[in-house]
Amino acid sequence: MTLEQDSAAFLERLEETTEEVEGIIAKLDLIDNAFAGCTFYTDISSTHHFRLNVWLGFENEKSFKRLDLSKLRTLILQSPLKLHIEILASEYGWSWNDIEFVLEKYIIDDEI
């Protein structure tokens, strides 16, 4: 299997657990009720590292603007989500250090 194939397979596996991931994220202190879910995509960085992008969707601009992704990232690294990702990644022979973890946010409301 190539890195690209593994990346696609990992994404599929992670997507199967979306509900579980969203449940963990929803419980984090920095996340409020406007959190509406997340979307994942994976790619290969220019340095040939596997990159996992997690996009967090919010239903209003206030929550979207207020969320500090840097602080959230720190919180996630201390949460069960890190272990969740580590477990799935190890199914493909990767450790956490093999993954470039990227957090992004977006607003779901079309009017904004």
């Binding site: 272990l83 969740h84 477990i87 190890s90 199914e91 493909y92 022979g93």
Partner: protein, 134 residues
């Protein structure tokens, strides 16, 4: 010898994921190839210890490894109870057998024995392939 988790069926990987989360560890990194009864198998080289009081085993765990030979009926019942708790629905079902994702064969979760350990029931667990080459 470390094990490539890809060889396991998805249902078993999901069980290991749940077990790992319950113990706060990635169990996949504790899988090692070992022999069980002369056959290649995968051992979970991690103490999945459960409080003995859950199984009415208080004060009986220091020589629990003898149960297998001394009282096979109680041993089987304990294996089933621990299996339900660790690898099952925690009510009545031990998810013991897992069909291969592709082709014939299946994997079996085998609690082979228990380690002697004060106040903890610590199973010795193997993942045994049937009809699958390791």
């Amino acid at each position: 010898m470390a094990v490539n988790v890809r060889i396991l069926p998805k249902s078993l990987k999901d069980i290991l994921k749940t077990v790992g989360k319950n113990f706060g560890e990635n169990i996949n990194t504790y899988l090692v190839e070992e022999e069980l009864d002369g056959k290649k198998a995968i051992k979970i080289d991690f103490d999945l210890s459960v409080n003995a009081s859950m199984f009415d085993m208080d004060d009986k765990t220091s020589s629990i490894s003898k149960l297998k030979n001394d009282d096979s009926q109680n041993f089987k019942e304990l294996v089933n109870s621990v299996g339900i708790h660790l690898f099952g629905d925690n009510v009545s079902v031990f998810y013991k057998e897992h069909q291969a994702d592709k082709g014939d064969g299946h994997w079996e979760v085998v609690i082979d024995n228990f380690k002697d350990d004060d106040m903890w029931v610590t199973p010795v667990v193997f993942l045994v392939p049937h009809g699958i080459d390791l």
